[in-house]
Symmetry: D2
Subunit: 165 residues, 4 copies
């Protein structure tokens, strides 16, 4: 592959509704991503997605929302999204979220978020979890990076993609 010329994109995945503590964490993560110069990608909706997008805006960054609907009437983006990518794909857009991100940070729960964690692992993309799902299969727990703070989540995500850039 030739030298990379496109910008780093970090995806923040999380549910469309969340408690204030989770929203504050998502906002700090969005801000941190922007301050490090990367583009923030989310699902473009409310809750964790909106909080992260608001934070990235506050950090001076560019925000992309990848929406499930085919138009703003079907799925309106939150007011902090700069570029709203309506996909018309429903939840298949979760696969786009993962492919389009250099690393994924999952904040909080929700089944959509769980699908994005799983798809990211399937695509061998770096995933960092903050207060999100714990997984176990037949006594085995996948060794996923878990962060305790927003700062740690952002630092870990960038550290995990660094070698491939």
């Amino acid at each position: 592959m030739a030298q990379r010329t496109h910008r780093i994109v970090i995806g923040v995945m999380g549910p469309a509704s969340c408690d204030p503590g989770t929203a504050a964490a998502a906002r700090a993560i969005g801000r941190g991503i922007a301050e490090r110069g990367a583009v923030l990608l989310t699902g473009g909706r409310s809750g964790v997605m909106e909080a992260a997008t608001q934070g990235a805006r506050e950090g001076g960054g560019l925000t992309v929302g990848v929406l499930p609907g085919a138009s703003p009437t079907e799925t309106p983006p939150n007011p902090f999204v700069d570029v709203a990518l309506f996909t018309g794909l429903g939840e298949a857009r979760n696969w786009v979220n993962v492919c389009a991100s250099d690393a994924v940070i999952a904040v909080g729960g929700g089944f959509g978020t769980l699908s994005e964690i799983a798809l990211a692992l399937k695509a061998r993309k770096p995933v960092v979890l903050l207060g999100s799902w714990r997984l176990e299969i037949e006594g085995t727990v996948p060794n996923l990076p878990r962060a305790e703070t927003p700062e740690e989540a952002v630092a870990t995500a960038f550290a995990l993609i660094a070698p491939s850039l």
Copy 2:
């Protein structure tokens, strides 16, 4: 909605490689689905998908494989698939697997399977687990039906869709 005229479809999701015990369970599940007159849908590949498809064939049923690649050259279907639906969607086809199934039975692990469990829950589709993922978030475990035997998995899947037919 008018009276239903299309056939019942049960999706069996599982990894492309598995141990003999898991394969035997998947095969029994495929056979049970066929014997109850439903169409079996899988991802069309090897491992759990192939074993379930083989079982459904043995049970005299119709087998559909929903493949990630755009052609048999990219992703060859297993030899028991009757109708191979090449999607050219990569792992976004997991969303199709879920939408196209009246109920989903997840057998064994794998991250693709985990994404299908999550997408099914997101779509409010019945999901039955056999030897598959255990999930937990902040001390809460989603109350998902777990089967101990292939027979129980099949019976539970049909019981869960029955009310909506």
Copy 3:
């Protein structure tokens, strides 16, 4: 590629509403596909799709409908569809229609049909046109097989896929 074991699938693409003559042609095409032992794939809805599906049923064949919606509530299949594959992908399911078909027969007009002709050509799939779009670019007309009758459309489609089987 190993010897092919899955069934031949012929896609019939056309608009969701059409005049009686076009419907009769689509029905004859569906019947012809079934009588030659192939699976009929359509978009699963009304108009040309329904007529072709009805014909294939009358010919004793298996009918697959690939629907844009995520559920029968969103996009109900026509009553002749055996296997309804809800995709939840909107019009992106047109790409699935093309990838899943060994050859495509386009009957009549409509912009969705035009997209399927274009996607089939992009995927280098055989396409046969019956009373469908004429295309021209800068004085050049792509050399696409056009049929005058349903029988010719079916015969041409099978002839074009034969070499690759």
Copy 4:
């Protein structure tokens, strides 16, 4: 719908290889889109896509490339793409291109471009053609806006979306 807060996105669709005259037109269109303050969206690859993206960069605009592959290894973006959205959807990403654009300008030929014209018409999105496909069905020619110059193409696209903003 609440007041729009996300940026205007204009999609420029065209083939991955083209003659110098077509490239010059695409470049002027990209520049014009950027100078009017909108985001340029393309398929992210070479030919018309690259020329339009280069023009938008020169005009000081933001450029988004929606790629068919799941990674830069599969489908490298051209060097003028700021935000590369790898979709892993193959040509199903053409549906995303259309949904994500407020208006589409088609430059030159190619079957992928034709599919995007068709999908845009299906989605009732404004489409402007410059040196692109001519369509006809049973003696009827869809009344699509055709531009003679890059400036006219850009002006027409903005005029067509203006009422909906």
